[in-house]
Amino acid sequence: MADSTEKFSFQFDGQTVEAHDGDTVASALYRAGRRIFTRSFKYHRPRGLLCMAGKCPNCMMNVGGTPNVRACITPARAGMSVQHQNAYPSLDHDLLSVAQRFDWLMPVGWYYKTMTHEWSWHAAEPYIRKVAGLGVAPEPGGGSTDYEHAWMHAEVAVIGGGPAGLQAALELVQGGAQVTLVDDQPELGGHLRYRKQAGKVPAELIAQLRAHARAEPASLEIISRAYCFGLYEGNLLGVLQASPHAGAIERLIHLRAKRVVVATGAYEVPFTFENNDLPGVMLSTAVQRLIHLHGIKPGNRAVIVASDAQGDEVAADLREAGVEVVTRLAPHQVISGVGSSHIKAVRAKDGEFTCDLLVLCGQRVPDAGLLNQAGGKLSWNEERGAFLPVDLPANVSAVGEVTGAWMACATPQPPENIPYLKRSFVCLCSDVSTADLRDGISEGFDHIETLKRYTTLTMGPCQGRMCQLAGIGVCAHETGRSMGETGVTTSRPPNPSVSLGALAGPRHHPTRLTPMHYAHQECGAVWMDMGEWKRPRYYKATSCPDERTCVEEEYRAVRERVGLIDVSTLGKLDVKGRDAGKLLDKVYTNRFSDLKPGRVRYSVLCDEAGIMLDDGTI
């Protein structure tokens, strides 16, 4: 739980927000009373916290100049500056939300239907870019530069610091393996940190691991606040660590492992019903995170939608936090959410229930993206209600909930009855509703892969985490196929997304100056970059007003009088020996063995197939 004694503040849209030690940007804002965190991509609908785990697109903000940062997993820091994005003038009063009144003008595949002329996209693009989309990229040269790269090697990499990952890591180090444990949370323990009814954080196990890491630092390394975004060929893992130290905001770790143990667990996904995207509609694990990790009372009156024991668990947590639990509904009973900027009530088959929090105990989905990237298949399991990883390659294994163990089907899949409504959202990233999917399928895009490309389902910042299962459900329902026959779309890295700054790494480009550099400068050189070298692009003189005239003047000088070129920036090879001339005859297109000392000849260098490799003077 966040320690309420240590407090600090940061800026959000120019207002001071108080944060507690251990807060993320989103938890501090929620405590301060903020409920709308983003405006949706297309319709500018208000969106609030949904997953609190960095899996959904609902809390992306501009943090310190970096756009599209997930506020729910970004640690709050004193003095940081946070801004909203994609809303004008503010999140609470967004004039652009008028867009949702015109949703009938934006059918599925809107671009393909309206942009039928070459010029139409060019004419429309500037306006679309202004009113739709995500954050704004910083100006060139702007934005943060505090990124760094690191290269690491491990015998075994364990991804996930929950109970399964911890157990695996301990058994491996006890067996003598050299282990690197990667966990995306600030503390180890996984879901046990916030699911108090499910069990206690294995403190003893963690203590044993920490003791091992201290005693034999070479055999165990624990990397916290770091998520693994990709598993590439040769078991190369892309790991992004937030705030590795005060001087860096992100560190990209290239982790190479002989074996990989994936213990990424499972995440919850929402149900589809009308207005299922209203702020105040929250996943049960998000509610538990707010209560147990941040000490926040998430609302006053809660309605729980559940079909399994998770409903009892979250009800107990809510009551303990002082929240009144109005009722509990089964998923099929829910008709719609009521409210415009926040949930006010839930309309169900047996009445309307006033509430300010709608807790969804959604279907749990194995976080199996890495296993899929490693070459494993995802196979539908009716009993578990999930696509489970099978046929894993030799050096990759899975432990814990990611395998589907202890998982149960929350609702029958595909659903028996899907309300097709323009306000029943499947994809929160780009506002794709059940009605849009049905329309796409009826237009012939009835394969899950073509449906994905036509509707942009699973293609947004959440990379399908929130929408894939529901999308497959709609596709299966409409086409009369089973979930297994419909299948899943391929998982590709990076997932979740990685900032471009982190990929680019630190900005330290060496600069090389030729011996004549300052002589060029005196002649008015305008510089260009040639690899690491600075080379004059042209010389600016008082006699020529622009680049074109300067270049023309230089051209005339070379043709009519004399020119001088500094070739220090070009590569030089020294060929010595009796047969030097013969060798050059073979690699150049003209003869060099007859070149007299002191003479220069220009030629072209080709490979065996006659492909030009380079040119130069000899």
């Binding site: 060929e233 040769g234 190369l236 197939a609 006659g610």
Partner: protein
């Protein structure tokens, strides 16, 4: 592309350190008929499976080596210096 190549001099290294040099083929004699040279220069076996290739360890020992690589899985079975 991030597979590994076991360099016989430097040990197992990332493919980023190497430059690909094409399939290993036998160069015809200079006086060989042009069909033979044509075949050598422009025709590639482009094996779907294990093939013998040239690799140059550009960022390592800077030696040319040969490797047996499965072109469908990018698994490098062995690497050695040419005889």
């Amino acid at each position: 592309m991030s597979f590994l190549i076991p360099c016989p001099h430097c040990g197992t290294r990332s493919v980023y350190e190497f430059r690909f040099g094409g399939e290993v083929k036998t160069r015809p004699q200079p006086e060989a008929p042009s069909e033979e040279w044509m075949e050598y220069t422009y025709t590639k076996a482009n094996e779907s499976g294990v093939q013998k290739e040239w690799w140059f360890h550009r960022s390592g020992c800077r030696q040319w080596l040969q490797a047996m690589r499965n072109t469908t899985t990018n698994e490098v079975l062995e690497a050695f210096f040419p005889e």
